[in-house]
């Protein structure tokens, strides 16, 4: 089980801020493929990966990051702090 969290318009498109996902995906990209296969709202949220950023266990990383031992994956648009 991995906690998957969404922020900003990713959260709005998917319609929830957080969910637990039963998955054996090896990488973030594999997890994205599984989520897209679920429902249109996921498919649409992940259409353009270049518009998305990902953090694994609260560290920014890439979509090819491995998920072994990971507890939390977060998807969100480019950050606009400051």
């Amino acid at each position: 089980m991995i906690d998957v969290v969404y922020f900003a318009w990713v959260r709005e498109r998917i319609g929830l801020p957080r969910e637990s996902v039963e998955t054996s995906a090896a990488t973030v990209a594999d997890l994205v493929a599984e989520l897209r296969a679920r429902e249109d709202r996921y498919d649409m949220a992940f259409t353009d990966l270049s518009a998305l950023r990902v953090a694994v266990d609260q560290e920014l990383t890439d979509f090819d990051a491995p998920l072994a031992g990971v507890r939390e994956v977060a998807f969100f648009p480019p950050m606009t702090g400051g």
């Binding site: 953090a55 977060a74 969100f76 480019p78 702090g81």
Partner: protein, 147 residues
């Protein structure tokens, strides 16, 4: 170092004075304050700021540690708000203290560049005609390349 994430407004001047008073023998203190600007059409109702509570604090602390490794940085303060803000309200501030001004300026700019594009905050402009997530500016991503 001090990192504070909060919904409440803060008094930038009082924070600057407290930060300065806490330094020993710093010759230079630089501060940056970010303020909610109105929309291009002047119809901003609110700026909503979402963040990633489990990550934000540690991400900013890591940025300050990186700045410490690159500049002669005596101390740093970051305050960043989240939630719903009105136009002209303070969003955030950074303060840096060093012996000389070049390090204080460089560390403050470094922290601002990273906070803009690498700290997990997302801004949404709420106007009379609807709400829209703020798109990142190309200039902000480009600013990171200088470090």
């Amino acid at each position: 170092m001090t990192v504070r994430l909060q919904e409440a407004a803060f008094d930038a001047g009082a924070e600057l004075n407290a930060f300065t008073a806490a330094q020993s023998n710093a010759g230079a203190v630089v501060s940056f304050s970010g303020i909610v600007r109105n929309s291009a059409r002047g119809d901003l109702v609110a700026m909503e700021i979402e963040h990633y509570p489990a990550m934000t604090g540690s991400a900013i602390e890591a940025m300050i540690e990186t700045a410490r490794g690159r500049f002669a940085l005596g101390d740093a303060l970051v305050i960043h708000r989240h939630g719903r803000l009105a136009p002209a309200e303070p969003i955030m501030m950074v303060a840096t203290a060093s012996r000389h001004r070049a390090d204080a300026f460089a560390a403050a700019e470094f922290l601002m560049d990273y906070l803009k594009s690498r700290a997990p905050f997302w801004k949404k402009e709420v106007t009379a005609s609807g709400a829209q997530w703020v798109a990142p500016r190309d200039a902000d991503e480009k600013a990171l390349t200088r470090w």
